[in-house]
Symmetry: C2
Subunit: 186 residues, 2 copies
DNA sequence: CATGACTAGTCAATTTCTTGGGTAGGGAAC
DNA sequence: GTTCCCTACCCAAGAAATTGACTAGTCATG
């Protein structure tokens, strides 16, 4: 039931079609979850059948029509119940960390390349998230916005995403450097 | 096939029984992956059938006997292939972030409590990871160990785990504070 | 000497996720 | 004018993960 609530949360912000949601969740721009398009389409169908969201056809002239979804009062209630319940412990899963764990038994070259690639991705996300922050808080400064702004939820998650990506970038960079240095000396 | 390689990586470090692995993966002490006991037992069976690990019965007098597993040469090869291949992009999933995303529409109280709980968990892990670091590097200082130590893989992943948990702790704390302040003024 | 807690492991049902397709119309590139 | 990419959505098979059991022996607590 994880995706269910993530989708509801995303739709709280604004209307989305399945395709638009897929874009957001795919890149992880919705920096609190990630999912494949197929998962999203089927989840949207189930949510609509459960009456937690409702769809609306939008006619488009220059491209195929789409259905956009909004959260119903029942959906909001579901979210409220979800928020009040305990969160499941944060569990972490990452291929690249697994590779680093056993790096001493392996050829480090390809892993170094992957670390650098990841650092670059993290930089790109940092840029993107920075822009989103600016857009969200408008012309207020952060302190003021957080105290008196109207919609601080997305801002707070974005702040978390930024801190996380900073760690990813920095750790990847320094780890790659450590491995590169050892390559030279061994 | 994610768990498969995570288990192989864990067994590279030292022999483990299913139960011991479960403990490590459950807490996420193996700070690069997490999995339930059932998953681990079935994965171990499959890995043994595939010849990537081999089991050995250990007779214990004061408690039930156990089977401990080691990685075979074929298993190491599998890991090497895995490390050389591209990593799948890091995908993030967290209940608590979802709740924060829609916090403006919800009662913040229970979420604040959850943030504080998570901060406490992160602190505990930081303590634990710090001890692991010390144990891993022995009496060398970090610089020297990273340059000339023999087994730096687990150390590097642990460093990553620490940075990550720091972000979790700090973000949770400041976010809880922001929400608490707004509660007062609204 | 019963109760609960810990070690050690297994089975089965269900849900969730991933993978790899397929349909269909529009616009741009070459 | 054909090939490619983008929007928009759907289906189904199979892999992986979660959930909730259940067996069985040891040890400590009261």
């Amino acid at each position: 039931m994880g995706l269910r609530h993530a989708v509801l949360a995303a739709l709280c912000d604004e209307e989305y079609s399945g395709y638009q949601l897929a874009k957001a969740f795919d890149v992880g721009v919705a920096n609190f979850w990630s999912a494949s398009p197929q998962q999203l389409y089927s989840e949207l169908t189930r949510l609509e059948q459960a009456g937690l969201i409702s769809g609306r056809e939008v006619v488009q002239l220059d491209r195929p029509n789409k259905r956009v979804f909004t959260v119903t009062p029942a959906g909001l209630e579901e979210l409220a119940k979800f928020a009040a319940a305990d969160s499941k412990p944060l569990s972490f899963r990452d291929d690249l960390l697994v590779k680093i764990q056993v790096i001493d038994q392996l050829d480090p070259e390809p892993v170094i390349a992957q670390l650098e690639e990841r650092a670059a991705e993290a930089s790109a996300k940092l840029e993107l998230f920075g822009q989103i922050l600016l857009r969200l808080r408008g012309d207020l400064d952060e302190q003021t916005f957080l105290r008196r702004g109207e919609q601080i939820g997305p801002y707070l998650t974005c702040l978390g995403g930024i801190r996380f990506q900073q760690v990813v970038r920095d750790w990847s960079t320094t780890t790659a450097e450590v491995l590169r240095q050892r390559r030279g000396t061994s």
